[in-house]
Amino acid sequence: MSRPDLLGALRAATPAAPPELRQRVRELATTSSPARRRSGWRLPLTGVALAAVAAAAAAALIVLPGSSRPRARSAPSVVAAQAPLPRSFAAPAPAVSPALSGAASPAVVLPAPSPIRAQSYGATLSLRLSDGSAVAAAARRAVQIAQALGGYPQSVKVSVGARSGSAKIVLRVPRSRVSEAIVRLSSLGRVVGEHVSIVDLQAGVDATGLRIVRLERELAVAIHEPQSAATQKLVAALSTQIEGLQRARAATLRSARDATVGLDLGTVAPPRHIRTHPHAVHRGPFHTLGRIFRLAGIGAVYVLAIGTPLAVLGVLLWLLASRIRRRKEERLLSRS
């Protein structure tokens, strides 16, 4: 039998569906209506997935440090971006230098020392001024302020050039007037950092006082006892101990009477990027558009960086699953 004959014989034997089956299918088609096409859910699902990816990318842009925020380029922003000193209790630094603009810096509000407890109070202010002469003038004025408030300069280091300068001043000011001193000192320039430290000394002073009282009682008892060599030795030891404690207590209280105020004066650092192109100064709507495009580009890069490996992995898994399924089917059909 040739192949055409074989194919003809195979085609000739084409059984038709039995009438019972035909009737059954007809009844099925007439009595039941096919399920309607569920339109409109795939598209929203895709949209939701895309929105989720975009939101994840946006979140990554926001969360990742320094990834998307455009760096400050203009002069005021550069000044604001300079690393300030550690600020325990800091007021927000102004964006525009008052020393440059001529306006006074807002008064710094730091925690005030306690008027009734012995405390070691230290504050540091970092100020920025326009040039070297302003730094020198501010240093002089700082010393005057301290003296006017009953304090004194503990150390003064001033280094001034033609356009820049710096000064490090340590002032001792009566603790009761330190708040006023800080307010007046902060008006000398633009505050870029402030730091305050308060250490309570009262507990130690009280403990020393109690110990002195106890030793004085012991001393009184020892004095009234019959005098012997041992008693005299004890009286001398107690007296020495009491004097030492009293001196220490007095020194502590003396040191707590004055607060230490550090003043770090400096000039404004020159801007890192000085643009001479006129478009850099006169920013129009295209600048905003450019920033939007830039952010969109960054977002697209993140989506690609995160999405591509996932997509490749998904395709590989799908191919693997298809291959396994195909193998199983072939095994099944070869046995049937």
Partner: protein, 159 residues
């Protein structure tokens, strides 16, 4: 008459023939054809004319139904083999062919009978048949050629 009813009426014979060849059993094919059209009714909303003809889609549904049947049958046989020694398989029903051809067809696997059904009986083109089987066109052609060679060899021996 709905689109589904028209498609069912038009392609019932093709689906039935395909299943007869695929399973090698007329009665089983009748049951599976009924099940195929029930399932097709449920899934009719998924049919997309741009992705293939109604006949191909219905045959695809029939194939899934038949594969499910083969799988469950295989599981049943395994369970029974564990419980008792295997019995000889039921004698398949004839395809309405000559006794020699029937004998030769019994030597083919379901996969080989399937490709003959698609390419010869239903006269599907190679691309449609390959897409339905999930294989490449060349693979489909090779499979058909091997199946026909096997059939010819068997007939040669029988003749």
């Amino acid at each position: 008459m709905t689109g589904y009813a028209q498609a069912a009426e038009r392609h019932l014979d093709d689906v039935y023939r395909y299943l007869v060849w695929f399973t090698g059993d007329r009665f089983l094919a009748e049951d599976l054809a009924g099940e195929t059209f029930e399932r097709a009714l449920r899934l009719w909303h998924r049919y997309d004319a741009r992705r293939g003809s109604e006949r191909t889609w219905l045959c695809q549904v029939a194939r899934t139904v038949a594969l499910d049947h083969f799988r469950s049958e295989r599981r049943r046989q395994r369970r029974e083999e564990l419980a008792s020694p295997p019995e000889p398989p039921d004698e398949p029903h004839d395809h309405g062919l000559s006794p020699e051809l029937e004998t030769a067809l019994r030597g083919l696997s379901a996969g080989e009978r399937e490709v003959i059904a698609l390419r010869v009986i239903l006269d599907l083109d190679a691309a449609s048949a390959a897409a339905m089987l999930g294989i490449s066109v060349s693979n489909c052609t090779t499979r058909l050629s091997r199946a026909l060679n096997k059939l010819e060899e068997a007939l040669g021996v029988a003749a």
